[in-house]
Symmetry: C2
């Protein structure tokens, strides 16, 4: 909090510190992102007075050595050597929780600030690391951990601080968006996934992306900065996009919709949060549908200001590195003190989902009475059918058709589906996906 | 700049100031935005400890009085009374340059910070007011002056500080975007404008919107925060959307494009800036074309991170007020000192536009040899025709047709058009609009 008195203090301080040394930066992990961070620091001469690269840490560091960093940089594979040099900031781009967790703790404990691109570490330990930083007068920043170079964390914490946020809906995983925006009624997921892997948008093992765990970790961080509540990533309901089939693209388009992996969190007050990660049918004219390829897109809805959107490249060395460097630049300025600004992240509680419409896709071995059987079971649980779609041209023994239902409780639908799944006419386990109405800020799960 | 030493100082300071009084806020101008700002401050109890509304200033203030502000608020029509009370922050939502300029100068000079929604004031005087604030240890912030509640200034100054920005392209005027996204080959501009006025998206006299002056002022501010260079709004080349006709919607769609009022600024280095505000043909699949209604949309392109986009409501009391309150919240925190962060805005120089493709629309009294005459004149100035479009069904004496040309110098095109305009076959002065290729970040003028 600033009064006129403290403003003068600040001014005096900024004048005094203007002559001081640059922030000494140690980079942990010299992979794609770490290298891009170093490259930007070296190339941006306008930052030379405020940032000084002092250490590069990597396992087997000798094979990582490049010729374009300053000669003064210490290359090391000993974390102790880095920490003993008392850097002002640790840039952590190693990834994973093992190892990094201890290093970040140690750095914060000795008063260094930390800038990390590590969504898993932060999703697991953000509240504790933020508190630790606060106790030691340092900061932990993680703009790069969500949506690459899209400044969504800064946008929520500062740019939208004047609003009261209620909901965040994002396309946070570029791999899933690439797959879902390329898939058509004839172009299969496996073909598109192969293309994504060839283009470097998908990993050799894309499970974490496709099954929603990557996006869930990012959603935990967005919930934290938006509502100062911490959900464990493991409690966020996730649904894989694996089972999306060409026929779903066909039926989605018949419904005026398309499929996107969305990550949604909504504050219900008192630390209760609705959250979901998975494939959702969205209106074709919504901003989510229009977001194609590997782009990330995040919409933040506030009580006063309505919906604001942020988009751009969500991955890649350079875009992610710009987010890291933005955090470094922020540390060189009058600080935005994490503890006074945001306050601690209290534990959040997962709230049950709202009433939602659903898309139910069945593949059956055709016989008479199937639709009657399904709709009867749905009715028994108080669920109203909205539409039934059955396109011609499929084999009778693997006949796909779709039932959409009006907004209902997910527990009721789950019970109805358990009954329906017991029937012997299925050629495949039914697929259940939320279906969103309205567009953009009206869009809610 | 922060070192470990100054971090400890900061921590001590934040602890010390945590017990201090809230920022005392005086609102100048109690119109739509001023009222929304007061409403948010009053309603958001989480801000009660950091922001205190002390004064509301307005001409004939008695007719403005409401019953939902704290009783302690002083209502006044005397600016001297406000300034004599030494508020910590002045919120200026009066608008215009006359009067506000002196008030803001006085406030800054006595050490108060200023938060303003006033694009005209800032476009005219930003460099001087930023310096004045810096000298007196205060701040001037103006998030609300561009794109309403979309946190684009924060995004550029902080979220994208890690990148080196090269270009900003925005849809900055909701009125023009509403008109251009509603107009079709049959729906006229006047009908759509009337609808916009009825919905409150357009003013009774929409000249400043339609002729590009509103957007030019905002573009000057975006250029300032992006490149720390100041262009005078009067030197930004603006083109009105007034002359866009239904037939242009038809021909744009034949070209796979649609028309948007874009505001573009690109840094050419050394303070040279290309800038333009006016109607442009953009590809139908571009994000600019997909931005419809009164929404604002701003794309920022960086050397390292590529394109990032920000969008949302660009006007209205509440969205604009959230931007004001975000600025107020920022002032209550460890400050981001404007002078140490951004540095001064040096004078910028307008650079000539790049080679651009153009759309030339003629309306002629048909006779033989017209196309030959036009293309001959273009050829004489080295300008190559890309396409000729002439739709059937128009009267011979007011026959509209379109010529598009390959990228050329605007001065060459101007000279060619001067020759062409002298011909006697015109039923209307020809319309010249830039035509952009590529999409999104490739899109440049």
């Amino acid at each position: 909090m600033t009064t006129k008195g403290s403003q003068s203090t600040t001014k005096a301080k900024s004048k005094q510190t203007a002559g001081q040394l640059p922030l000494r930066v140690a980079i942990l992990g010299f992979g794609t992102v770490g290298q891009s961070v170093a490259r930007i620091i070296v190339e941006r001469t306008d930052l030379a007075e405020s940032l000084q690269l002092t250490h590069i840490f990597n396992r087997n560091v000798s094979r990582k050595r490049v010729d374009w960093t300053p000669e003064s940089v210490v290359w090391t594979e000993k974390i102790e050597e880095v920490l003993a040099a008392s850097p002002d900031v640790i840039v952590e781009t190693v990834g994973g929780v093992k190892g990094t967790y201890e290093w970040v703790q140690q750095a914060l404990s000795q008063g260094a600030s930390v800038v990390t691109a590590n969504k898993l570490l932060m999703a697991a330990h953000a509240p504790e690391l933020i508190s630790l930083a606060s106790v030691h007068g340092s900061q932990i920043r993680f703009e790069a951990a969500v949506a690459g170079g899209v400044p969504i964390i800064d946008g929520i914490r500062f740019g939208l601080a004047g609003d009261q946020l209620s909901r965040v809906v994002g396309i946070l995983n570029g791999t899933c968006n690439f797959i879902l925006s390329r898939m058509t009624s004839t172009e299969s997921m496996s073909a598109v996934l192969e293309e994504a892997q060839r283009l470097g948008y998908a990993e050799a093992d894309p499970s974490s992306d496709i099954d929603g765990h990557d996006a869930a970790a990012k959603l935990v961080l967005l919930a934290g900065v938006s509502f100062r509540r911490h959900l464990k990533a493991s409690v966020v309901p996730t649904m894989s996009i694996r089972r999306i089939d060409n026929v779903d693209c066909l039926y989605a388009s018949r419904l005026g919709r398309t499929i996107r992996q969305l990550s949604i969190v909504e504050s219900m007050g008192n630390g209760h949060l609705q959250a979901f990660v998975g494939p959702v049918l969205v209106p074709q004219e919504s901003s989510f549908a229009l977001n194609k390829g590997a782009q990330n897109f995040v919409m933040v809805v506030g009580r006063y200001g309505g919906a604001k959107s942020f988009s751009g490249e969500g991955a890649g060395g350079n875009p992610t590195a710009t987010a890291v460097v933005s955090d470094l630049v922020a540390l060189t300025k009058e600080e935005r003190n994490a503890d006074t600004f945001d306050g601690a992240w209290l534990p959040g509680t997962l709230a049950p989902p709202p009433l939602r419409s659903y898309y139910l896709r069945f593949v059956v071995n055709d016989q008479s009475g199937i639709l009657a059987s399904i709709t009867t079971s749905l009715a028994r649980y108080g669920i109203n059918v909205d539409a039934v779609l059955q396109e011609p041209g499929f084999p009778k023994d693997r006949l796909p058709f779709v039932v959409t239902v009006e907004p209902c409780e997910d527990t009721a639908l789950e019970e109805a589906m358990r009954v329906i799944e017991r029937e012997d006419f299925h050629a495949e386990v039914p697929l259940v996906m939320p279906l969103l109405h309205g567009s953009n800020d009206a869009l809610a799960v």
